[in-house]
Symmetry: C3
Subunit: 414 residues, 3 copies
Amino acid sequence: MAEIATTGNKGKGIRSDCFVTLELTMAGGINLRLESKVGVMFGESIRTLAFEIMGFFGIEHANLKIEDLGSLPLVLASRIEAAVKKLVKTKKDYLLPILESNKYTTSRDRNRFSRLYLPGNSPAQMINAGIHHPDGIILDLEDAVAPEKKFEARFLVRNALRSIDFYRAERMVRINQGERGIEDLDYIIPHNVNLILLPKCESAEQVHTVNKKIREIVTRHSSLVTHHSSLIHPIWIMPIIESALGVINAYSIASSADNVVALAIGLEDYTADLGTRRTLEGKESFFARSMVVNAARAAGIQPIDSVFSDIGDTDALRENVLNSKALGFDGMGCIHPRQIKVIHEAFAPSSEEIEKAEKIVFAFHEAEKKGLGVVALGNKMIDPPIVKRALNTINLAVKMNKLAENWRENYEEI
Amino acid sequence: MAEIATTGNKGKGIRSDCFVTLELTMAGGINLRLESKVGVMFGESIRTLAFEIMGFFGIEHANLKIEDLGSLPLVLASRIEAAVKKLVKTKKDYLLPILESNKYTTSRDRNRFSRLYLPGNSPAQMINAGIHHPDGIILDLEDAVAPEKKFEARFLVRNALRSIDFYRAERMVRINQGERGIEDLDYIIPHNVNLILLPKCESAEQVHTVNKKIREIVTRHSSLVTHHSSLIHPIWIMPIIESALGVINAYSIASSADNVVALAIGLEDYTADLGTRRTLEGKESFFARSMVVNAARAAGIQPIDSVFSDIGDTDALRENVLNSKALGFDGMGCIHPRQIKVIHEAFAPSSEEIEKAEKIVFAFHEAEKKGLGVVALGNKMIDPPIVKRALNTINLAVKMNKLAENWRENYEEI
Amino acid sequence: MAEIATTGNKGKGIRSDCFVTLELTMAGGINLRLESKVGVMFGESIRTLAFEIMGFFGIEHANLKIEDLGSLPLVLASRIEAAVKKLVKTKKDYLLPILESNKYTTSRDRNRFSRLYLPGNSPAQMINAGIHHPDGIILDLEDAVAPEKKFEARFLVRNALRSIDFYRAERMVRINQGERGIEDLDYIIPHNVNLILLPKCESAEQVHTVNKKIREIVTRHSSLVTHHSSLIHPIWIMPIIESALGVINAYSIASSADNVVALAIGLEDYTADLGTRRTLEGKESFFARSMVVNAARAAGIQPIDSVFSDIGDTDALRENVLNSKALGFDGMGCIHPRQIKVIHEAFAPSSEEIEKAEKIVFAFHEAEKKGLGVVALGNKMIDPPIVKRALNTINLAVKMNKLAENWRENYEEI
C-alpha cells in the first residue's frame, strides 16, 4: 500500500467538500493541518471529528492535512475514512447515525416521473437536491464518477444515504457495471437505500447476481437489524437497458425478479452501441424504446425513458416528455433540478385522462358495492390492471391538485 | 336457483327481440301472457312455440310473460330456453333446424378484408348483416355483451349460427376470455361456426386449450355427425393480440396450431395495457402492429388490423386502411356496415398496382420465353418475389372484377 | 445423359462470352468449329485451350462448336468444362492457376460500405468490376442466374475467383438457397473466396449447415493446402434476412457462428413476404431494419442494408444511405458501379464523428500510456467496442483523406 493517500476535491468551483492528504508516519502522533475558510467557526468541530476518526481506526502517527471548502461532517468523515482505507486494511466502518426522517420505504407502484442524477463524488449537489422534490434522487457511482474516484465515492454515497434529508424522494443509487457494481452494494444496502439502478443490464442473470448479493448482505447484517433498520425495507431494482443485447433481452430482464419495479432505457449508450448518434426525432431509438415500453408493461412494471441532455431547452424537453408519455413511458431521468417541474407537468394526467379514470374508478366502486367480481364500463370488462392504473391516475390527480379529493361525491351527482 | 328469471331486452330502441319473464309455479299449468304489437299476425305461432319449448323441457306449471318486439322464432326460442335454464338444470337443448344454405366451409386463405362485429345479445343487427357482404360476420360474446347478459347471449348466438343466412360471409364468434370462453365453445362448435376469435391471447397455450376443447366437443358429438354436419367443417382460429405480453408472444401464438389462419391486433386494449391512448397517427402502436404483421407472415397466416372507431369519418377510415395495407395487413375489423365498402375498396389492388403487376407479369413471361433468368423493367431489376407478388395482385384483381380474365391477350396487343 | 450440351451466352448485347455446343461422337476425333470475330488474333490460342481441355477430360471424339464473342480463357474454359460435365461424369476439375494478387485475406471488421452484385453467369461485368473499387464484389449464383444456367454459372464463378483481379475488393459469392447452395460451396470454397452470402436465411441451423460443409471441403482439400493456399483464409459468412421468419430469428442467426461477420437485409424479398410493397419512406420495413441493426450490434457484427434499385436517382440514393447510416447500418448493397461513390461518400464519417472518435482514441492512448485498464472520457467509462469503433472511424477517415495521418500530433498540441 502507498504511504500517502489523497481523497476529496479541491480547486475551482468546488464547495461543500474537502481535500484530505493522509501520510502514515512511524512516530510523532497525529499531526493535523487544517486549512479552512470557516475555520474560525467550525475549526474545532472539524479537528474533533478528525481526531475521533483517527482514533476509531487505531491510527496513532500520521500527517493529516485537511483543505476544507465548507464540508459537512458527513463529507469530512467520508473523505478521512476513504483516505485511511487507502492505506490501512480494516473491517471497521465509521458510521454516522441514520437520520430518523430517512427511514421510509417506497411502494412498488409509486410515482416515478422524475429521477435526478447526482454525481456520487460531488457533495455540493447532494445536500439540497431534495428541496426540488424529484420523485427519486440517484447517487451515481457509475458514469458520473471518474475511475480514480470510484473508491472514495462509495464512502460519500454511504454517508449521504445515512445523513442527508431527501425530503421523501425515493433514495436511489446507480452502481457500477460488473464486479465493481456488486462490490458497491456492500456500501449501500445496509444504509437505507430504496432502489438500485443497474446500468447496462443485458441479462436476467445480472439481476439475479445483484439479488444474491443483497441477500448475503442482509443475512450478514441480521444481528444488527432492528425493527427500525433499513434492512427491513424492500430494495427495488431498476435495470437500465443501454445496449442492443439489452434490448433483445428486455422482457427477460423486466420479468427476472419480484423486486424489479421499473425498466429504464439509456439512449446515449444505446445509440453508441448501435454505431449511430442520438437525434431529437429519435428514429434510431424508436424500436428500442418501443421494445422497452412493451417489455416493461408485459412484466407489469414501469417503463422509464432516458434523460434529455439539453438542459437549457425547456420547450424541447416538454416536447420530449409528451412524446415519452404518448409512447407509454411512466417517467424519465433528469440531470438538472430545473428539468423536474417540466417533467412533472408534462407527465401529469390530462383532464381527459382524469375523466376516463374517474369513470373506471366509479364503475369499480359500483361493482364492489354490488358484490360483483367483474368491473364493467358499459359492456366493456375492465381488467384489474386497468382499474389499478385508473386508481393511480386519480390519486396522482388529487396529489397534484388537478382533482378535488371529494371528486366522487360530485361525480355521483351527475 | 332463483324462482323467477328474465331474459332478452326491452325498452327504447329495442326491436326484433323480446323480453321473457319466467316464474316456476307449483300448480296451475302454463300461464302464458303475451304482449306483442304483431300479436294479431304472429300471436298464435309465438304461443305455439312457447308451449312447445315448455313441454320440451318438461315444465308443467309456470307463469310465462313474453313482451314481444318483433322477435323471430330463433330469438324467441333462445330467450325462453335461456330463461328455463336459469331456473332448471337440464342437459337438453332446444335446437332449430340448421339452415341448409349455412352449411358451407371456408378456406384457409380466403379473403378476410373485412369482418363485421355484432353484439352477441342484440338480434336486430344480426338478421340483415349478411346483405352488406362483409367477408366475415362476428357474433361477439365478449366485450359487446354485458356481464349479466353473457349467459343468455350464448343461446342467441347458437340459434343465429343455425338459422340466420349470412350470405356466405365467414361465420365467426368471438368467445370470452379465460374459462368462460372455453365454456362458450359448447354453444358454438356444434353449430356451423367457421372461425373462433380468441380475445386477449397471450400464449400458445391458450390456443391449445381451445383446440383441446374443440376436439372434446367434436368427439362427444360424433354419434350425431353426418356428412352434412358442421363438425366436419374445419374450424379456424384467429387469436387477437391485445396486450404487451401478447405482442411478445405473437409469433409463438401465430404458429401454435394448424388451424390458426389469421392473427389480429386489438388496439384499444393494447394501448390501455401500455398505459397510453390510441392516436390517429398511431406511433404508440407502430411497434405492436409491425410485430403482429411480421409474426403472422412468418407463420404463413394473415395479419389483421384493429377496428377503426370513428364510424362517421369515412376519409379517415380510408386513410387508415391504406396505412394498414401498406404495413402488410390483409384486413381489419369493422363495427358498422357502412365501413365495409370503404375497407374493400381500399384493400383492393389499385389500378396503379394492377398496371404495374401486368407489366411485371408480362416481362416475366417474355423473359421466360427467351430463357433469361433476370427480368428488367426499365432500370429496375425484377426479382422472383416481385413476380410472385405481381401474380397475386393479378389474381385478386380478376376475382374483384377489376381486370378481365383474358387481360394478357389485350396486353400483348399493345 | 444427353448427347448434346450447350453452355454460355450469345445474342444481342452479349460480349466477353462464348456459346459452346458439344456433341459426343463415337469416332472421328475432335471436330472443332470456331466462330470468332477475333479469330485472326486469338483463334490459335482458343483452339489450343479447347483441345487441351478435351484431352484433360479424356474426350477423344466429339463435335465442338465455339461461338466466341471475345471470351477470355477463364470464360472459355468454364464454358467448355461445363459442357463436358453435362455429358460426362468425372471428378476432375480443369483449374487455371490462381492469380497471385488474389491471394489476400480480409479482416473481420474491414469496411463494408458497398458490395457490388454481379450476375454469376455474365462474364462481361465481372472483368472490370474491381476498377470501381467497391468494398466487396459479389458473384451471384442466386437470383441473378436463370435456373437453367445455374449449373454452368458455378464454373464461371469458380474460374473468376481464381483468375480475375478484384483490386483487393472483398471476394464474395452469393450461393443459392437450400441444398443447391450447399452444393455451390464445392465450387467456391477451395478457390480464394473471402465471404459467403447466405440468401433468405431464417435460422442458425442454415449457418451451421454451411459451416459444416465448409469444414468438410477444407478437410478434403487439406493434402493440397500450402501456406499460400486460400484454404488458410478465414471464410466469412454474411446471412441475408429476407423474410418475416428471418427477422424473428435475426439475433439467433447473427450470433450463430464465429465467422458470421455481418447481417444483411434484403428488402425486395422481405416486403414481398410481408405482402406489401417497398416504399421510399420505408415504414413497411422500419421494424425489420431496426431488428436487423439491433440483432447485428448485439452480436457484435456489422448490420448491412438492402440495395437501392433506382440506379438513375443519385439524390434518392444519397438520402437512402444517410437514413441507413442514421439507423445504424454499416453498409449496403449496390447493383451498378455508379452507386459506389455515392455510397462511400454518404457512409463516410462526418467531421463531427471524426472529432468524437479522435477524443475517444486519444483518451484510449492516454489510458494505455498511464497503464490504466479502463478508458475514460471525462468521467465516462468507454467500453472496448466503442474504442474499437472509434479506431475504425479514425482509420477510415485517414484512408479516405478526411483526416491527416499524423492527427494525433496536432491533437495533443491543443
